[in-house]
């Protein structure tokens, strides 16, 4: 008996750590291939966003014949979770694990929620639409199940993105952060574009069986890609594991973060700018169609052009910041490009020029790329090492909420103007206040950002040299900040 036991234990011990999902040592140098692999989690986030906001939005309304307002409410549910991103980030900062991990457990849980939401979503939608025998089922079953599915996916996306970005910030030294931010944004866009094409092709001939296959397939892809992304990324930190449980309350941590010079101002800039750029996302296509009589394929191309502009913006921002540019300056230039872009969008209606609208769209995308990259890099740079999760959670909460609110407001203003008497005569009329508001919001963001341009933002270097606060996460051995 004991011989077998010794044999088994010997075999077990010989398997060695290469099969364990966490890295045993923190390497100072993180190769690009590893960062690319890490950024895969952004692809699943992009996939979930496209599936919920784009594809399902259409399928539920057109094929399943569920009322559009009900669908809009369902899709808005995940937005309710957005403010909790700050809390999630804080929790992952202070998470006490015997294994010395703090990001991995959260990403695991977030991935599980996302998977679970996708797993029940097709059936929930079929029951909601009264498929088969579900016509006789009580209404609340379909409603509750669909709401639960969307909430689970939304919560999963919020958790994975917040904690994933925090992990990426943990891993790389400060001078490489612009590269990582660019990579993350690009992968998000790539994930959205690839999955939009894939869903379009897969759901061309709709059937309930196909819907189940596609959504549950997304669930499996989510698990696989997130698993690949997280494998061996986070190092075990024995010092953190053995440190006593920190007693930091969320309110205290938040107060400490908010007290940092420029932090609240930065968040305000992010809210204003994201809202400014975000309104265009949903309105450019109907604007092109209704005002400039563009065809469906042409307006779809508008969205592609917007994405292309963003890609160019991310690329340029990465190079610029990599050469030592100020992140807030990059963001300000992005907002400054956005203001004339939206005025040109309005001018294109007056002149009836499609070419001008395309040019303006490219400009808006470019500005959005610069602005998004600059503000996220600024957030990463200004976050204290032990509050990275909280800072990025605050970034995500502000950014997601602002984008969602902006889309809702844009839709409401346009519909209200459409309903107003006499508005129908002038095609561009309903859109004028929305695009003007966008330009105004961006101009306001520029004004608020003014004092931040010249580095009036607490950076991590200041922390290291000026005030050595005791870190809540125990002694840091992962990556020592460059002093």
């Amino acid at each position: 008996m004991s011989k077998y036991k010794r044999f088994a234990l010997g075999k077990l011990a010989a398997i060695g750590p290469q099969w364990l999902p966490f890295a045993d040592v923190a390497s100072a140098e993180v190769p690009l291939s590893r960062l690319l692999r890490l950024s895969l989690f952004q692809m699943t986030v992009g996939m979930a966003l496209v599936l919920m906001v784009g594809t399902l939005n259409r399928v539920i309304i057109v094929e399943l014949k569920v009322p559009a307002t009900l669908v809009a409410v369902m899709l808005a549910l995940p937005l309710l979770f957005a403010p909790f991103r700050a809390l999630i980030g804080f929790k992952s900062d202070t998470f006490r694990s015997v294994l010395g991990l703090r990001r991995l457990p959260y990403i695991f849980k977030g991935t599980m929620y996302q998977f679970g939401g996708f797993a029940i979503m097709p059936f929930a939608l079929l029951v909601l639409s009264g498929y088969g025998e579900a016509v006789n089922a009580p209404r609340w079953i379909g409603l509750g199940a669909a709401a639960l599915a969307f909430l689970l996916v939304g919560a999963g996306v919020h958790i994975v993105q917040t904690v994933g970005l925090a992990l990426a910030t943990d891993l790389v030294p400060e001078e490489d952060q612009p590269k990582v931010v660019g990579l993350m944004y690009v992968m998000l866009l790539v994930g959205m574009i690839l999955s939009a094409f894939a869903y379009g092709a897969l759901l061309e001939t709709y059937s309930p069986g196909r819907l189940i296959q596609v959504i549950q397939g997304s669930a499996v892809v989510t698990i696989v890609l997130n698993g690949l992304a997280m494998w061996k990324q986070e190092a075990r930190n024995r010092a953190r594991a053995q440190a006593p449980q920190p007693v930091v309350r969320f309110a205290d941590a938040w107060a400490r973060l908010a007290a940092r010079r420029g932090m609240m101002r930065l968040l305000a800039v992010i809210a204003l700018g994201t809202a400014g750029f975000g309104m265009a996302d949903v309105l450019l296509e109907p604007y092109g169609g209704q005002v400039l009589q563009m065809s469906v394929s042409q307006t779809t191309r508008l969205t592609v052009i917007l994405a292309l502009g963003s890609l160019v913006g991310f690329g340029l921002a990465s190079r610029w910041l990599g050469r030592g540019g100020q992140p807030m300056l990059v963001a300000a230039v992005g907002a400054a490009v956005g203001v004339p872009a939206f005025l040109l969008v309005l001018a294109s209606a007056v002149m009836g020029s499609v070419a001008l609208l395309i040019g303006a769209t490219l400009m808006a995308g470019f500005g959005a790329g610069l602005f998004g990259h600059g503000t996220l890099t600024a957030t990463m740079r200004s976050a204290p090492r032990d509050q990275i999760g909280l800072s990025l959670g605050a970034w995500g909460a502000v950014q997601t909420t602002a984008a969602g609110v902006a889309i809702a407001i844009a839709g409401v203003i346009r519909d209200a103007m459409l309903l107003a008497p006499g508005a129908a005569a002038n095609g561009a009329g309903p859109y004028v206040p929305v695009f003007a508001l966008e330009a105004a919001l961006l101009a306001l963001a520029l004004v608020v950002a003014w004092p931040l341009w010249h580095g009036r933002l607490d950076s991590r270097q200041d922390d290291a040299s000026l005030n050595k606060r005791p870190t809540a996460g125990g002694p840091e051995t992962l990556v020592t900040p460059k002093a």
């Binding site: 694990s97 015997v98 294994l99 695991f108 029951v127 199940a145």
Partner: protein, 51 residues
Amino acid sequence: MSNDPDKVWPTGLTLREAEEVHSYLIDGTRVFGVIALIAHVLVAVSTPWLG
């Protein structure tokens, strides 16, 4: 069973570390169990397979 919390067992984990790994397994099983249950109920509502 040793009471030494720092003893590393042949798996490379101490007792408390192993318990934490196990807790993730249990959590995952519970969540997936609940998800599977809900999915089955929903399928049964739309296409009943029992009677």
